[in-house]
């Protein structure tokens, strides 16, 4: 079903049940005119937050002053993970008699709106699940507590977790603002029935390669998997690219600034880096040739009819729906979607590694969530301990056993792999890149939200309207101007 063209903005990177990250921005649709000034705004936001809190949490009131210091409030957005964390909370309460953990789960869409509103109003939760795209904003707002300076959480070490995870959660000041809780990588999900009928084996899928000139074996494979309404394949004569029934590759919007589940595996394996530094770079590289030629090739697949067009994407028609309904054969997507793909009715799903690129290597983005402690709750021992417990092997193994995500610790990851296996889900395509060290982190810089706001329409313009990739150089210049202005 194609509905309302494109719900621009939405795309997936949450571990969310709903999976849709729509507009990084305005959800409080107040009628506040342009001249409403900040105090009014703060008051407004406050009212919103207050009413949300009372509505959402059964009116336990603002947690700072009124409720006891032995109640810890915790927010997360993924309904699928709620049972795991409820189990953690129970174990935590048993270890700490008298302490109570109150978990609030909100959908991804509302989560960030309510969270920022509550921060402005001073009614934020003690601990919350944090995402790397939002991290810079919270650092800028100065609302997070440095975990390395607090007694209960000072013991958290980078080496406790899968390589690279903890480093992403350090601010420019070197302090740790998030305790790693889980990780995810990108791989290809495919419809086994379709690959079988196209004569493409699992081994072939796991050893594909691409390049920006002719697309390599990867492009050949998705061309073969593309079928038009008369049954002709994309690599057969007479193929009608304007009348495609099954697309080789599913669409997941244009990918904003990171392209996590769209083009990041390709730009990454082309050897391209988002910024000039590993973390907190001061300069983006969207003007580089390796990036632009990759994007040109990638969105060019849509013109050839192999990649589903931009307009086929909407919140209700994500890649999992496209593959599940048989309108696409392959989707690059995150490990958090494994259970969803494998649970699709009538879909015999498989997973494969992302293709090798011009650099001679594969590359998959490895991202992870963390738990952050708010500044207001920093002097609350129970809240500190809860963060430490969430970051511990004990809790992460509990969460891993649910088989929904890969927890950040080794033991937690092992528990998750075992749980996935029990469900008949092969997660090698997600774990092998980590073992092989062919991962790269999610870009983190100042002004992350503004960078996304600039890149989103620019990438959509290339994808949907065929605008030349050279136009991204202008956007990149503006991004770097903004980054040069502030710290």
């Amino acid at each position: 079903m194609r509905k309302r063209g494109s719900h621009a903005g939405s795309h997936v990177r949450s571990h969310a049940g709903s999976h849709v990250r729509s507009h990084a921005g305005p959800h409080v649709r107040s009628h506040a005119g342009p001249h409403v000034r900040s105090h009014v705004v703060a008051a407004l936001a406050g009212t919103v937050a207050l009413s949300l809190l009372t509505a959402g949490c059964g009116g336990q009131g603002s947690s700072s002053a009124s409720s006891s210091s032995r109640t810890v409030t915790y927010w997360l957005w993924d309904a699928n993970q709620l049972p795991g964390y409820q189990a953690c909370a129970k174990a935590f309460e048993e270890r700490n008699p008298g302490v109570k953990v109150e978990i609030t789960q909100l959908g991804w869409e509302n989560y960030w709106t309510k969270l920022t509103a509550s921060m402005i109003a001073g009614t934020e939760p003690d601990v919350f699940t944090d995402h790397i795209t939002k991290f810079a904003q919270f650092v800028d707002l100065d609302v997070l507590a440095p975990l390395d300076e607090l007694p209960a959480t000072a013991g958290i070490k980078d080496s406790d977790y899968q390589a690279g995870l903890a480093a992403s959660w350090k601010g420019q000041d070197g302090h740790r603002y998030g305790a790693p809780k889980d990780w995810d990588t990108i791989a290809m999900f495919y419809n086994k029935k379709m690959t079988d009928s196209a004569g493409i084996s699992a081994d072939t899928l796991n050893s594909l390669a691409w390049n920006p000139q002719d697309g390599g074996t990867f492009e050949k494979a998705i061309a073969r998997l593309t079928v038009d309404s008369k049954g002709r394949r994309g690599d057969e004569p007479g193929f009608d690219k304007n009348d495609v029934k099954i697309y080789g590759l599913a669409t997941n919007d244009a990918g904003e600034a990171d392209g996590q589940t769209q083009w990041s595996a390709f730009t990454g394996s082309a050897g391209w880096k988002y910024t000039d530094q590993k973390a907190w770079g001061r300069h983006y590289n969207y003007d580089q040739k390796s990036f632009q030629s990759t994007i040109d090739w990638y969105f060019g697949l849509a013109e050839k009819g192999y990649l589903a067009p931009f307009k086929n994407f909407s919140q209700s028609n994500g890649p999992e729906v496209q593959v599940g309904s048989g309108s696409a054969a392959i989707a690059l997507h995150g490990s958090w979607m494994a259970k969803t793909f494998y649970g699709m009715k009538g879909l015999d799903a498989g997973t494969a590694l992302t293709p090798v690129g011009p650099s001679g290597k594969r590359a998959t983005m490895m991202n992870g969530l963390a738990d952050s402690l708010t500044k207001r709750a920093a002097d609350k021992p129970a809240a500190q301990k809860w963060v430490a417990y969430l970051a511990s092997d004990a809790c992460q193994t509990t969460v891993g056993k649910q088989g929904v995500v890969f927890p950040a610790t080794e033991a937690g990851t092992a528990a998750a792999i075992a749980a996935y296996e029990k469900d008949g889900i092969d997660v090698t395509a997600f774990t092998k890149p980590v073992a092989d060290g062919t991962t790269f982190p999610f870009p983190i810089t100042d002004y992350a939200a503004d960078v996304a706001a600039l890149m989103k329409p620019a990438m959509q313009d290339v994808y949907a309207n065929g605008r030349p990739v050279g136009s991204l150089t202008t956007t990149n210049r503006q991004i770097n101007l903004i980054l040069s202005q502030g710290d």
């Binding site: 063209g5 649709r29 005119g33 342009p34 001249h35 900040s38 904003q137 502030g486």
Partner: protein
């Protein structure tokens, strides 16, 4: 920032000066607190980096430098102007027609009232209802198009249609109100002028061009100034009825929406203020030019 409080007008001691001051005070207080102070503070904030939670930091012209280089800002301005041109163009012509018909054809206040009904619906409700009507797959508007043998049109989700669609939705809502204002202006034209014209053998069309339109000019000018300003501030319909903030590839990212997103979505209050100041400047210039061109302050009557 100590500008606001010092300006109390008229210090000459006169007999009724105190009384006058008392009468002026409420309006003056409202003006100072709700208009002048926010405006000055907004202008001040446009020179700072401010995120609402940490203190504002003076950055000079940084926000303005960012603005003139920002492709999205210029895109938003272009989209907004496209919207205003379609919205005001269609609305003014339609409202004028309705007003003249109301004046020349009927005296029924029921009919005149019906014209106003869309205005009683809130913008948000109108936006949502039209979102349903115009839905590409399921909307009744597209169903009718389909039944007539046309292809379905993504009125609110495609690059080329979204702004005209939103502009026309707002025409639907505001045309009655605009017509009513123009109608009031027409009522002020003395009936004997028409009578004299009719004696001289003028037809309805000729009377419209030679009498109604020239004598309506001052009212029309004021209505235009008001509606153009209102039109530039389009926000709610776009926010409600188009997908994502700003539609596909920002095709409906009008300026107010971009300002709102910068401030409340990304906490760039300084930058958002700079863009608001730019909008204020644009609107001031347009209003002054309109006022001059249309000689809104003068009348041709008697």
């Amino acid at each position: 920032m100590a500008v606001a409080s010092s300006s109390t007008p008229r210090t000459k001691p006169r007999g009724d000066g105190l009384l006058a001051a008392i009468f002026i005070a409420p309006a003056m207080a409202g003006f100072l607190v709700f208009l002048l102070w926010p405006t000055l503070r907004g202008i001040y904030l446009s020179f700072t980096r401010y995120n609402l939670l940490t203190p504002a930091e003076w950055v000079g012209l940084d926000n303005y430098r960012r603005m003139v280089n920002d492709p999205i800002f210029w895109g938003s301005l272009r989209v907004t102007i496209e919207y205003v041109v379609i919205n005001i163009g269609v609305q003014t012509v339609a409202a004028l027609c309705i007003a003249v018909l109301m004046q020349r054809l009927t005296t029924s206040s029921l009919l005149r009232g019906i014209v106003l009904t869309p205005y009683l619906v809130s913008n948000v409700v109108a936006g949502v209802v039209f979102l349903w009507i115009l839905d590409t797959q399921l909307g009744i508007g597209n169903e009718i198009l389909g039944a007539l043998g046309f292809d379905h049109v993504a009125f609110l989700a495609s690059n080329e249609w979204v702004i005209p669609s939103v502009a026309l939705i707002n025409v639907w809502r505001h045309v009655g109100y605009t017509a009513l204002l123009l109608f009031a202006g027409l009522q002020a034209i003395p009936g004997d002028v028409y009578e004299a014209a009719r004696v001289d053998g003028a037809g309805e069309l000729r009377m419209f061009w030679r009498i109604s339109l020239p004598l309506l000019r001052p009212v029309l000018a004021v209505v235009l100034i008001m509606t153009v300003i209102g039109s530039f501030q389009v926000f709610d319909t776009v926010a409600v009825a188009t997908p994502g903030p700003g539609g596909p590839a920002n095709a409906s990212n009008v300026l107010q929406l971009y300002i709102y997103g910068s401030a409340f979505g990304r906490f760039q209050f300084g930058y958002a203020s700079a863009m608001s100041v730019a909008l204020l400047a644009v609107l001031s210039v347009i209003t002054i030019v309109q006022y001059r061109l249309t000689r809104a302050g003068e009348t041709d009557l008697g």
